[in-house]
């Protein structure tokens, strides 16, 4: 497991669902993302971490750009939307038919991980457009 996977699929989703408002506030004001990145590295015993993920806001969307994925199903992006947070990811994947690289558009709820099908180009604009399409 990589720090990126641990952060995007384990640490952040449960934290968000346990107290959405506090998590959102801490992400915006207390450098929580950078600290969780260090935390993930310590849990996995990673001695040299890539640069931490970056956080940007687009209206009510918190967009987290992860370090470039190295293996499926690591995420390129993670988006948090709304006060009852919906968490979406764009994940590195492989096409099941031809085994070629592709992306998948997914979500992480309290119940677990959900795959909503093929994703878009791993670019912020394309991911935000895809998010706009589901709302």
């Amino acid at each position: 497991m990589t720090p990126g996977y641990l952060l995007a699929f384990r640490l952040l989703p449960r934290l968000l669902h346990s107290d959405p408002a506090r998590t959102r506030q801490a992400l915006l004001q207390e450098e929580l993302l950078r600290k969780l990145w260090v935390h993930a590295g310590l849990h996995l015993g990673v001695r040299e971490l890539p640069p931490p993920p970056r956080l940007e806001t687009f209206g009510e969307v918190l967009l987290i750009t992860m370090p470039v994925p190295t293996e499926p199903p690591e995420a390129y992006f993670l988006a948090v939307i709304g006060d009852e947070p919906q968490v979406y990811t764009l994940e590195m994947g492989k096409d099941m038919l031809d085994d070629l690289p592709c992306t998948y558009f997914c979500g992480v709820t309290r119940d677990g991980h959900h795959n909503y099908g093929k994703g878009c180009l791993p670019e912020p604009g394309a991911f935000l457009a895809r998010l706009a399409g589901i709302r």
Partner: protein
């Protein structure tokens, strides 16, 4: 801190342990983001005693209450033929282990009180709990680690450590 360490070792109790814990957490040199204990053990495993000796000077204050740190120091003293130092550190290790494991029961109501991620995994190991997942959760406004293990969920108060990361 020397006085408080003396008080703890001569009269180990939850109270003297908590005094030390607060000193660690409030020290300006508290650096739980560092993997100094791992560095110590890597040097010991490689038989690099001089390197281990250098690393050992960086353990305090952050890892003062870390059983694995004191076990490593006991081993280092033993390798150098310092029997008294070995016994001292082994006793220190036993005491901090006891109070770390007594600091909680891993439930939401009584999470283990740790000062580093290293202690989180030390406790899981001491309980012989196989870690399947690591997650985080807010409890009463404070950040906690939650380990999903083959023995159920274990909660750890890791907020102070996380807050101290630079």
């Amino acid at each position: 801190m020397r006085q408080e360490v003396g008080n703890f070792l001569s009269g180990p109790s939850p109270e003297t342990y908590q005094v030390l814990r607060q000193l660690v957490l409030t020290s300006p040199n508290y650096r739980p983001d560092l993997d100094t204990v791992d560095q110590l053990w890597r040097a010991l495993d490689a038989g690099q005693l001089e390197e281990a000796e250098k690393i050992s000077t960086r353990l305090v204050p952050t890892f003062l209450l870390n059983p694995r740190a004191h076990l490593g120091l006991a081993y280092l003293h033993g390798q150098k033929g310092d029997e008294r130092g070995e016994q001292f550190e082994f006793y220190f290790c036993q005491q901090v282990r006891k109070f770390l494991l007594d600091s909680g029961d891993g439930s939401r109501r009584r999470p283990y009180q740790v000062t580093s991620v290293d202690e989180v995994h030390y406790v899981a190991g001491a309980l012989e709990a196989r870690v399947k997942q690591v997650t985080c959760e807010w409890l009463g406004g404070r950040l906690h680690d939650v380990l999903l293990t083959d023995k159920g969920e274990l909660y750890f108060a890791t907020g102070p450590a996380l807050a101290a990361y630079p």
